[in-house]
Symmetry: C2
Subunit: 521 residues, 2 copies
């Protein structure tokens, strides 16, 4: 395809431009206004369309896909309500700095003034999650719009292209050449030098990393810096993609709860930020400061979550730790437990059995408390977390990660309450034959909210407690999964969980294990 | 509770004000920032909190509730992502002119400047569906804000109150007295007189009604007008609440597809709008005008969807048809069919068995084509439709309708594809023991999109067709329903469907029948 190809519909120009720009997967939940886009798919065979039964599955899949593929997928959503349904997982993608090209169909330009029933302010909704929004205005330009959208997404953000139906169905579309993929912004030399001086000062310092720095190369450099300077190394609380396990330089994560995070940061005089921003508490609590930077601590913001964090760390390591070698995690697995299934024993089972090269999608919430320790020495793997706090990301993100990496096993470690927001992702797991093993931690509660109720200093009675109780009626995730085409079993002991995970690993395609764990709280 | 009650938290003041203003149900899916609201529920026992596992269930339930109760419910949603998840059904509520008080929790005012992970522009998202948005700024005023929200909702719109956590947990809340419930705007006398003249002119005229005019009193007046003047009477395509059945004056609905609607309107010289707005096609199609008003037709907009439509029609009827009595539908049911289950036979089964006083929530889409005719002479019932086109409304709206009318049977007639957007509503059906019988029309397709693909003039190949195919893998709605606590059976013949519906009617509480119907298209 060339930059001046003509005589094609807008939809075809859009799809060919996306494909030529390296976007070859589209997670789709279309409606009438997207029919020409859908019809054009057959003319662009390199574009894989993956159907989701709910838009939040499509957007979460695009997030999981790009975290693993390193390049954006597209989504196809239906007007304002479709975008609304996809918004929560676009929010998570935004906080992960994930590149996403969100194509949102709109009414024909000629139809929009009529305020038809599905008309709404798409740009306003999109603006809340997108770093880039464009309402495509003409068939002639939609190819160029698509190329710009891909380039914008590569800046580590959601790029939303609103596609009017008549721009899509019009003739005279032109395929645009790929726009240059922008480089990650590099550190300002002065800031980098000041950070190096701070780390070398001998004063208490914390090196907080995120973005691309939580991959192996960044972690190695960060560990060298910490070893040479005595700085405390921490990763941001919810990394988009954390490489870890045997052979990878390890890192602890800043705690979720503000008090614990404050304890980790301690009386640091210097906080050096590489690939992340200054830490704040997830929520505000009565009488507590949400800013986690201690009084008197100097903050050195070297690069943010979209920046060239690995290069910055390597430069710092060359300055500060020229002769130091990074320590890496030793291979070590917990003993396979037997008997009672608890949060602890379930974590040990995962640690004992996690396969080489696994991608772990972690939305286990309170049931995942023991997972980081139990898997620290497991074979090398990637760990994807809930960056934006909008629950319902696990099953969709696993979908996208499995599409991105068909040769790697995906383990989706999923709390029960949050599973229900986007449960239809299981159907896409089955439809696409994805090698995803989902563990649903069935504790019949929004256990995190029981914790948070206490944390905010509130006391509830039975009415409040009822809103955290998912056991009336009891959900049956094996029935739900089978109803969507995913083989499923229930595990009530550690042995049964281990057996189920081994059987799942032995057979390609999706599986679900319902792990009956008591709630932590 | 009095207007100057003090010494209470903001959350308690809010809840007591809502309750005092006639809002006594809250459809909730809370998170950390809503914990003080949740804790305060135990102090306001008249407020019933109904838990949803997904925000779209909560908002759709609030829509269904208010359509039947005639007064708003509240929702409780968690920040921008929670509102995003609820947006599609708030969009439907907006198009139905349903009063809803959407309470959306937000970060503490002190926390918001930190741009914590869950921070986003709630007001921008809310603005796309809300006629009224307020960010509550102080504990002292949150009671008054709540009273204003209820009054705003009563104008026939979504009123969104954004509730910062510290406004909620602060002391010094004051319960506000109820604000006056606004009257529906009445018709301008000149416009009403012009409409009467047009209807009396003998020229071809269409009387198009909506809003409150699709209840029995408005329908009776409209029928009298039509009988006396020869005007063609039609209801808007998707009425919020249509009273119908034996003993109610009947009305046909404007067709969904523009060509059919144009045929109904014909060469009208006058279009009189009472309780609705000028008709437009649902979508734009290549080469077709979306405006359904014929050339040369005068439009008389008497009152819109929020206006005093019944009074306007009664005034017109008094002027135009003083001696005319409204015709009402005769009691008549289709014969109970046997044998093959088709869209037609399934409709006949519903028509043969629909119980007296039923509330029908209709999201049957293509599988519902025969329902209006088959149920026209069934015992008197209410019919709720998908006003805004955002699918995933049926199961949630049924939830709300059943909460509003515990003594009436609710029949939720639900397409399979759209069921999957908000499928977790079934769990709330079970949890609350709601008397809802859901029929899922299982045709394994987005059949409407097959129709629309042809309607927009596009031709797809296998890739396009794949995106309408819900049969790979086959969904099993009985398994899914049982997994959420709802007894379910599959019906493969008309006889089995009838048996299942009779058994469901004989036993209180929720049931689901999976009707295996072939796709129309």
């Amino acid at each position: 395809m060339s930059g001046d190809e003509r005589d094609t519909s807008g939809a075809t120009a859009l799809l060919r431009t996306l494909h030529g720009s390296g976007v070859d997967v589209c997670f789709a939940n279309p409606g009438t206004s997207e029919m020409h886009f859908v019809a054009a798919l057959d003319g662009v065979p390199g574009m894989r369309a993956v159907l989701a039964l709910f838009e939040g599955v499509a957007t979460g899949a695009a997030d999981g896909y790009a975290r693993m593929a390193g390049r954006p997928a597209a989504t196809l959503l239906h007007l304002g309500p479709g975008l609304g349904n996809g918004l929560a997982n676009l929010h998570n993608a935004r906080r992960a700095h994930t590149p996403v090209v969100a194509v949102v169909g709109d009414h024909a330009l000629t139809h929009a003034p009529l305020d038809a029933p599905l008309q709404s302010d798409i740009a306003a909704i999109a603006g809340s999650v997108s770093g880039w929004v464009r309402h495509s205005a003409s068939t002639a330009d939609v190819g160029a719009d698509a190329a710009d959208a891909v380039a914008a997404a590569h800046r580590g953000q959601v790029a939303t292209l609103v596609l009017p139906a008549d721009v899509s169905w019009g003739d005279g579309g032109r395929v645009a050449p790929p726009a240059a993929v922008p480089d990650r912004p590099v550190a300002d030399p002065g800031t980098l030098r000041a950070a190096a001086d701070a780390l070398a000062s001998g004063e208490p310092a914390v090196l907080l990393i995120g973005g691309e720095a939580t991959r192996a190369a960044g972690l190695a450099a960060a560990n060298r810096i910490a070893a040479a300077t005595g700085a405390r190394l921490l990763a941001e609380t919810f990394p988009a993609r954390l490489e870890r396990g045997a052979g990878v330089a390890p890192v602890g994560r800043l705690a979720y709860l503000g008090d614990a995070a404050r304890h980790q940061i301690g009386a640091a005089r210097h906080l050096v930020l590489v690939g992340t921003r200054s830490p704040v508490a997830f929520f505000g609590y009565p009488g507590k400061d949400g800013d986690l930077v201690p009084d008197g601590c100097a903050v050195h913001a070297v690069v943010d979550g979209t920046g060239a964090a690995t290069a910055a760390l390597e430069e710092l390591a060359d300055l500060l730790a020229p002769g130091t070698t990074a320590v890496t995690a030793a291979a070590a697995r917990p003993e396979l437990p037997t008997g009672e299934l608890t949060v602890a024993s379930a974590s040990a089972v995962v640690g004992a059995l996690l396969p080489e090269g696994a991608i772990v999608v972690d939305e286990a919430i309170t049931s995942g408390l023991g997972l980081p320790d139990a898997t620290a020495g497991a074979p090398r793997h990637d760990w994807l977390t809930l960056t934006g706090g909008a629950i319902g990301y696990g099953l969709p993100a696993a979908t996208g990660a499995a599409v991105a990496c068909p040769d790697r096993p995906v383990w989706c470690l999923q709390a029960d309450g949050s599973a229900m927001y986007t449960i239809s992702a299981l159907w896409t797991h089955a439809r696409e034959g994805l090698d995803i093993t989902t563990v649903v931690y069935h504790n019949s509660a929004y256990a995190i909210l029981r914790m948070e109720l206490a944390a905010v200093g509130a006391t509830g009675g039975p009415a409040a407690a009822g809103l955290f109780d998912l056991g009336r009626p009891e959900l049956d995730f094996t029935a739900i999964a089978r109803g969507m085409g995913v083989p499923a079993v229930r595990a009530t002991t550690a042995d049964e969980l281990a057996d189920a995970l081994r059987r799942a690993a032995a057979e390609p395609g999706p599986h679900l294990v319902e792990a009956m764990v008591p709630a932590l709280v």
